[in-house]
Amino acid sequence: MALTGLRSTHAVCTHVERLLDPEPPGYPTAYQLLLRQRDAALPVLGTVSAGFPSPADEELTDTMSLDDYLIGNKEATYILKVNGESMLGAGILPGDMLLVERGAEPRDGDIVIAQVDREWTMKFFRRRGRRVFLEAANQDFKPIFPTEELQVAAVVRAVIRKYA
């Protein structure tokens, strides 16, 4: 009511209802109220105690879903089930699920999925000057120096381990 400067609740209500109308007669669209539904949003921080007036709705406008948190480029993200042990040293276990992004430019230190001898391989991507190579997290594996162009298929963005 303070916003509109009107004293009658009914008058305010009528105005708001018109703004909610998707095609308001005579109102410019810029003044429409946007009702956005955010589904599956999880709070990042904080708890609400019972018994106090709850500011929950306002506080939750700036939260994101797990999907938004984990996935950057939605169209380029794939899942991969780990079945080898080459990344044990990086804390990635057989059975873990990875979210990988296809076509992303790898940076030094990224874990990448590369294509070597018609198989997927998961390694650290290393860049030393103009030279690039792949390095395993496991001491038993030797680093791979590509003879031709290195085919990095995807960059690992997240590791998910669900304890079912």
Binding site: N73, K74, E75, A76, T77, Y78, I79, L80, K81, V82, N83, G84, S86, G95, M97, L99, V100, R102, G103, I113, Q115, V116, R118, E119, W120, T121, M122, A153, A154, K162, Y163, A164
Partner: protein, 436 residues
């Protein structure tokens, strides 16, 4: 040679086509398959899609798997994984929509997009936009697309086919005649064998010869759709893009093969009932009702026998359809024959509406069925397809659809993540194969 038109891109229409879409979806997620002949459709017994390596060996769409094994013994034959193909198809359209909202989803693996007027906004030429889009599609989906840029849909189709696979061809209006001169007229989208034969009789062999015919001649001898094609071949924009996702259907069709072939009356009927249930699920999803049903049985010798049944009123429910179809089934079914597939086509679709009252309590019955199926659909959404089904289709749910079902199950469904079930999985495509 005279140009047909002087304007390059009065409209800028793209046609984008996924190269060997299903087979490419498989190759891109499993590096072992790259460079090898790959065929999908194992579960149906015929090729649904084949990689370019398989095409080069003479494998064609619809070829029997048994014939493919003889022709190309090293072919990798995989069951179709429509779930994954659909996920990738949605991504394909989403990537195109990064550039323009005007996208026609023509089929699972091709679309049209209108770029007209976007040059200034994106600060790129139409060709540059098409290049960018293609690069994002190729890298983010992991296989190649063929792209055609032209002033209209008919020419955009010609352009995307010009250098398939992985090509990008732009045909500006002023260069159109060079391309049409090299194109046999039957290769033009929409010109079928009959029209081709007619045009040949008049000495028209190339698309250019057709485009150069005077308007009066075309109008006199051909019907409106061909006049429109003629206009587009002359560089005009006639065929509008059908925007938005697939919103409605004129017919709904469900066909399912089962192996081994069967001559068990109850079992074959159960297969038909299952198809009818599936068709009804789709119908209810789009809030449609049917008034005409075609049912057919396919024998193990690939011969189809079908009958058409008209319903007394529009319905969305398998109960009504089964009741109406039962006599037709009895008429067609011969116990001496083995069947390998059943199918149903629902047509005369209208918007579902049960407002009309009548003397015989039909409206009340419909209301009850409607309540019942609302619950059935809620259960399906929560627990997966066929959580509850009709007794009539019981036998079809008892056994696997195919002999040795495990071999026919897409690998994604055998690679379940913790918490996933055979009914529900994460809606994100998966990389397959060993990771070293």
């Amino acid at each position: 040679m005279e140009p047909l038109t002087l304007a390059s891109f009065p409209r800028a229409i793209l046609h984008i086509d996924g190269d060997a879409f299903f087979a490419s979806c498989e190759q891109s997620r499993r590096p072992k398959l790259q460079g090898r002949p790959v065929v999908t459709g194992k579960e149906r017994g015929i090729a649904a899609s084949m990689s370019y390596e398989a095409k080069a060996r003479g494998v064609t769409r619809g070829m029997r798997i048994s014939d493919i094994r003889k022709l190309c013994p090293d072919a990798v034959i995989l069951p179709s994984d429509y779930e994954t193909y659909s996920l990738l198809s949605k991504r394909f359209f989403a990537i195109v929509r990064r550039y323009t909202p005007d996208v026609e989803e023509y089929s699972i693996d091709e679309c049209f997009a209108d770029l007209t007027g976007l040059r200034r906004l994106l600060r790129m030429s139409y060709l540059k936009i098409a290049e960018r889009m293609k690069k994002e599609l190729d890298t983010e989906l992991g296989f190649t697309f063929s792209v055609g840029l032209a002033p209209n849909k008919v020419v955009a189709k010609i352009a995307s086919k010009w250098q398939k696979p992985a090509g990008l061809t732009a045909i500006p209006g002023r260069e159109l005649h060079h391309y049409l001169a090299k194109l046999p007229v039957e290769k033009v989208w929409g010109i079928g064998p009959n029209t081709t034969a007619f045009l040949h009789k008049h000495g028209i062999r190339t698309a250019l010869e057709f485009a150069q015919r005077p308007e009066a001649w075309v109008k006199r001898y051909l019907s409106k759709p061909f006049f429109q094609i003629w206009q587009e071949l002359n560089g005009h924009y006639v065929f509008e893009l059908a925007l938005g996702e697939h919103e409605t259907y004129y017919t709904i069709q469900k066909v399912k093969t089962f192996t081994p072939a069967s001559s068990d009356r109850a079992f074959v009927f159960a297969q038909l009932a299952k198809n009818i249930e599936n068709a009804c699920i789709k119908m209810r999803k789009y809030k449609l009702a049917t008034q005409r049903v075609v049912m057919f049985l396919r024998t193990h010798e690939f011969r189809d026998f079908g009958l058409e049944v008209d319903l007394s009123g529009p319905t969305q429910f398998p109960n009504d359809i089964l009741h109406a179809v039962n006599p037709a089934f009895e008429e067609l079914f011969s116990p001496a024959t083995a069947y390998r597939a059943t199918g149903v086509i629902l047509s005369k679709l209208t918007e579902a509406y049960y407002g009309q009252l009548d003397l015989f309590g039909e409206a009340i019955r419909m209301q009850r069925l409607s309540n019942l199926y609302e619950s059935v659909d809620t259960l399906r959404e929560k627990y997966g397809k066929h959580t509850v089904f009709l007794g009539a289709s019981f036998l079809a749910h008892q056994s696997a659809q195919h002999d040795g079902e495990r071999g026919h199950l897409p690998e994604r469904q055998r690679q379940l993540l913790p918490g996933e079930t055979t009914r529900k999985r994460l809606g994100i495509p998966m990389f397959l194969g060993e990771v070293h």
